[in-house]
């Protein structure tokens, strides 16, 4: 009697299961929705970080948009030309090469360059600190607070705080734009990766105030504007801004800037190399004398 109970229980529940399973299997064929196979293929090529840098909700949203032709094959800023080329193959479209962009921080107000109004020992978050009177502890109301909100938000580990100012590692930066949205001071801009010149200041104060607060702030003197041969740099609201569509990355503005607010990494690297060579030569010279 008891065994019969067990058998009916097992039989009826598994029977139900089989019926439902068969029903669902049949229904899935009847109600099958034809999905574009391209969506899956594009999905497999995309980085899959779901960072939202493309403007779509996650990688699947971007893949759907590309498959439907609503987005260009190079819609993914993170994947860059490599991914765009692969998606181009899937879609049968030639991918137009886009210059990869990277983030840069429009501030060089390091601990030694910029003055502080007071010592801040509160919550280590720029958004929080920027809401305090005077926009944070930095003397310059436009400067980087260096509390690392951008560092925390970066999913690719491309940002770090060096000497009180955020610094972008261009090799790791994928141009997703999350840091730019997170920065309460709006200090993070984007430039083509190949262009090494950048204005490292965002202070809209008049020159006198800038000098009082920071040794390397843009004072709006327009020397860069006058020296640029390509009409690529202009002073707007007391701060120089580079138009990267015109900039040829010659680095002249960086050399002429009296406050060194414009940086050109290439020239700086060369200068550093030269200085190192001179130092090495100096170090070598006395040893020669000793031999003699």
């Amino acid at each position: 009697m008891e065994i019969i109970n067990v058998v009916t229980a097992i039989a009826s529940i598994s029977g139900l299961g089989v019926i439902f399973g068969a029903g669902l299997g049949y229904a899935s064929k009847i109600f099958a929705v034809e999905e574009d196979p391209k969506v899956g293929e594009i999905m497999s090529v995309l980085p899959g970080a779901n960072c939202g840098g493309c403007g779509y909700p996650g990688c699947s949203g971007c893949a759907t948009a590309i498959a439907e032709g609503k987005a260009p094959v190079n819609a993914c800023p993170v994947g860059g030309a490599k991914v765009a080329a692969k998606i181009g193959e899937i879609m049968g479209v030639e991918a137009s090469a886009t210059e990869p962009q990277v983030a840069f921080v429009k501030c060089n107000g390091t601990c030694s360059n910029a003055k502080s109004k007071y010592d801040y020992e509160g919550i280590s978050d720029c958004v929080f600190a920027s809401q305090l009177a005077g926009g944070g502890s930095k003397g310059c109301a436009y400067g980087c607070l260096g509390l690392g909100t951008c560092v925390n938000v970066c999913a690719f580990g491309a940002l770090s705080i060096v000497d009180g100012v955020a610094v972008v590692d261009e090799e790791k930066c994928v141009n997703c734009g999350k840091c730019a949205k997170a920065c309460p001071k709006g200090l993070i801009g984007f430039k083509p990766k190949s262009k090494k010149t950048a204005v490292r200041c965002n202070s809209k104060d008049a020159g006198k105030e800038v000098i009082a607060n920071c040794s390397t702030g843009c004072i709006g003197c327009k020397i860069c504007e006058k020296n640029c041969k390509f009409d690529a740099i202009h002073v707007e609201n007391n701060v120089a801004v580079i138009d990267y569509s015109k900039c040829k990355d010659c680095g002249l503005c960086a050399m002429k800037c009296p406050k060194h607010a414009i940086k050109n990494e290439r020239i700086e690297a060369m200068a550093a190399k030269k200085a190192a060579e001179e130092a090495a030569a100096k170090a070598a010279a006395p040893s020669d004398e000793n031999k003699a």
Binding site: N5, T8, A9, S12, I13, L16, G17, F20, G21, G23, L24, A27, S28, I30, F31, A32, V33, I123
Partner: protein, 192 residues
């Protein structure tokens, strides 16, 4: 009259969330925005009503004749899971816009204990088919009512200055507790 009372009792007195504590996970999980909360609520109404009908037939036509009433939990879970799957496929095919609107909430309901709770209540209270459906509408309506109200409160809390330790879920849980207390005021309103 009895049916109207049943409906009102489901929404206010025997509210799934505030007096029976069923379906708390979606209640806390998708109550950050009124819009998504309403989406979840509509999806829950839809699934609960269908589940009430389906479980009524499974219980009375299969389990009772075979003397297998004690297997109702496992049988109901089976029915609900299969039903949600079927509904999802059906909606995807017949109404892509509704499918888009319900989105991820539809499959999530499979694991919503309010659905199972409703089916079990119907069975234990010995409701007939019409009563089961009305109880389902009432219960699911109460769920929607609660989650939308709660989402409205959470949207407002977002903009307030809250001590760091209370941000997010701690305050949400306190708010849910207070709402539950206030819903206790409805108890005794209707005796069924």
């Amino acid at each position: 009259m009895h049916l109207i009372l049943l409906l009102l009792a489901g929404v206010f007195v025997n509210n799934y969330i505030f007096s029976q504590f069923l379906g708390i996970c979606p209640f806390l999980g998708v109550s950050k925005k009124v819009e998504t909360a309403a989406g979840m609520g509509v999806a829950v109404i839809f699934v609960i009503v269908l589940a009430c009908a389906a479980t009524y037939f499974v219980y009375n036509l299969i389990l009772v004749p075979l003397g297998l009433e004690y297997l109702y939990t496992i049988a109901f879970i089976l029915v609900i899971a299969a039903l949600v799957q079927f509904v999802e496929m059906f909606i995807k095919k017949s109404s892509p816009s509704l499918y888009q609107a319900l989105g991820v909430y539809l499959p999530l309901i499979t694991t919503n204990c309010a659905v199972l709770g409703c089916a079990v209540t119907n069975m234990q209270s010995g409701y007939n088919f019409i009563e089961s459906i009305v109880n389902g509408i009432g219960g699911a309506g109460g769920f929607t009512f609660a989650i939308v109200l709660f989402a409205g409160i959470r949207e407002r809390i977002e903009f307030n200055d809250i001590p760091k330790a209370f941000e997010g879920f701690p305050l949400a849980l306190i708010g849910a507790g207070l709402m539950s207390v206030s819903f206790l005021g409805f108890s005794g309103l209707i005796k069924l």
